[in-house]
Symmetry: C2
Subunit: 289 residues, 2 copies
C-alpha cells in the first residue's frame, strides 16, 4: 500500500511541475514556490485512489484534475498565512509565500492558482465537456465552503466558543469540503449514481473531519522535527481546537470512531475496490505529521 | 442610444441583485456591498451590446454571463484597494470593502466573487455545455492577464519607467483584457468565426486602452463631484500615468486616435449591426467620470 501511494505521489509531483507556468514572471515564481514546496499531496492522492478504486485508469487528463485540486489547496494555504488572516511566517518548515516574497505578489499568486485550477480543469481535452463542467462546478462548491469555513474560523477566534459542534461546522467547511470534493469528482468522472456519490460524500466528510482533528492532536503531540516548527503553533495563537476543548484522549477517541464509521461508508458502495481507500484511512490514523 | 444603455444598465442591476448570495453570512454582505455599490457597469453593458449587435437576444442566461463579468471586475477592485496593493480608503465615493468591513473578510469576499463568476457561468442551463466551457475559459484567460497586469503595475510603481509602451503593456493586461473578453464572449456565444473574433479582440484592445488613458486624463481634469474624491488620487500616490508622461493634450490625442481605429475594426466585421458599439465608443470619448 505504501508503495502504491508513493507511486501516486511521484506522478502528482511530475504533473504539478508540468502544469505550473514556467515563465520568469514574478507570479509564476511564487506559484511554483508555494505548490512545489513540501506538500503531502493527500488530496490529489485521495482523488486518484478513489478514481482507480472505481475502475478508472490514471491518465494525463485525470492527473490534470489532481493538479487543479492541489492548486486550490495551495491557494487556500497562501491566503490563510497572510497577515490579515493567521499571519504565519512559516509553513511546512519554510517561509510562507508573503514572507519569502512580498505580500502583494503572494496574493496575486494565490488568485492565479485558483484561476489556473479552473483553466486546467476546463481546458482538458481528455475529458468530455459535460464532465468538465460538472467537475469544475464541484470545485466551485468546495471553494465556496472553504471560504465560508475560513470566515467562521476567523470570527470564532474572536468570539471563542466552546462547543465541539461549532468546531465541527468549521472543519466540515474548511477541511472536509475539499476532501469530499476529491471523492465526488472521482465518482463523477466514473459516472457513478447519485446514491453512490452520497456514500462517497459521507465517507469524505468523516475522513476530512478525522484528518482535521488529527491535525489538532499532532499540533500538541506530534513529531517535532517532522512538523518542522508547526508544533504548538495553534496554542501560540490561543486558537480553539479539538484538543483545547476535549483534551487529547477524547479527541483521539473521536478520530478512531470517525475512521471506523468512514470505513463502514465504503462498504455501502457497490463495485468499489475498497483496498486503497481503506489504506488511506490508515494513513490518516497513523500519520505523525 | 442613451436610453438603450440605460435599459441595459437596469437589466444588469436587477440581474446582479438576483445573482448575489442573499444569506446573512459576512462574506455575502461584503459581496453585495462591493458589487451593488455604484459601478458604471461598462463591461457587462459592452458584452450585452456586442451580443445584441451580433444578432443575439438578451435572455436570463446571457445576463448571468454579464453578472459573471461584473463579479470578476469587482473581485479585482476589492483586491486593488487592499493595504498590500494600492491601499485606498475610498472607491466610487464610498469606503473600500476592507475599510467598511475588515481586511480578512474583504479578501474572502473578493475570492468568493471570482469563484462565483465561474459557478454562475458553468451552472447556466440556458447555454449549451460546450459554450459554457469556452466562455469560462475566456474568463480564466482574462483573469490571468489582469493578475499579470496588476503585478507589472506594482513592480513599475517601484521602478518608475518612463515610456508609454511600458504603460501600454500594463493597460492592455490590467484593463483591456477584460474589456476584450466581453466582446470575445459575445462572439463565442453567437458562434462567430475566428477571423471575426480577432476583429472583436482588436476593437476591444483599442477601446480598453482608450478607456484607461481617458481614466488617467479624468484623474486630472475630471468632474470633481462626479469622480467623488477620485480626482488626483493617482498623483497623490506618485503613480506614473499617461498624463504624467505625455501630458494631457497628447494623451487626449491618443484617445481620439485609438477610438477612430477601434471604429475601423468594426467595419471589418461582417453581419454586425454596428450602432450600439459605435455608441459605446462615444460614451468612452465623452465620459466625464
Amino acid at each position: 500500500m505504501e508503495r502504491r501511494f508513493e507511486s501516486y505521489r511521484r506522478k502528482i509531483e511530475a504533473s504539478l511541475k508540468a502544469a505550473l507556468p514556467n515563465d520568469t514572471s514574478g507570479i509564476s515564481r511564487v506559484m511554483r514556490y508555494s505548490v512545489l514546496g513540501a506538500g503531502k499531496r493527500l488530496r490529489p492522492m485521495l482523488f486518484i485512489a478513489a478514481y482507480e478504486s472505481l475502475g478508472g485508469l490514471i491518465s494525463r487528463a485525470v492527473l490534470r484534475i489532481a493538479c487543479a485540486i492541489e492548486f486550490i489547496h495551495s491557494f487556500s494555504l497562501i491566503q490563510d498565512d497572510l497577515p490579515a488572516m493567521d499571519n504565519d511566517d512559516y509553513r511546512r518548515g519554510r517561509l510562507t509565500a508573503h514572507k519569502a516574497f512580498k505580500e502583494d505578489i503572494a496574493l496575486l499568486a494565490s488568485d492565479a492558482l485558483l484561476n489556473e485550477a479552473y483553466r486546467i480543469t476546463l481546458e482538458n481535452g481528455g475529458i468530455e465537456e459535460k464532465l468538465r463542467v460538472k467537475t469544475a462546478l464541484e470545485l466551485t462548491r468546495a471553494v465556496n465552503r472553504l471560504l465560508e469555513g475560513q470566515e467562521k474560523d476567523l470570527s470564532l477566534s474572536r468570539l471563542k466558543p466552546r462547543t465541539l459542534s461549532e468546531l465541527d461546522k468549521i472543519y466540515l467547511n474548511k477541511t472536509a469540503a475539499l476532501i469530499t470534493c476529491c471523492l465526488r469528482i472521482a465518482g463523477i468522472l466514473r459516472g457513478v449514481s447519485d446514491s453512490r456519490l452520497n456514500c462517497l460524500s459521507s465517507f469524505g466528510q468523516r475522513l476530512g473531519l478525522a484528518f482535521q482533528i488529527q491535525d489538532d492532536i499532532l499540533n500538541v503531540t506530534g513529531d517535532k522535527r517532522a512538523l518542522r516548527g508547526k508544533r504548538f503553533s495553534d496554542q501560540r495563537w490561543g486558537k480553539i481546537t479539538y484538543v483545547s476543548i476535549a483534551g487529547i484522549k477524547k479527541s483521539k477517541g473521536i478520530v478512531t470512531r470517525l475512521i471506523k464509521e468512514a470505513k463502514k461508508d465504503l462498504e455501502k458502495i457497490k463495485n468499489l475496490d475498497k483496498g486503497r481507500l481503506l489504506g488511506f484511512c490508515e494513513v490518516i490514523l497513523r500519520r505523525t505529521y
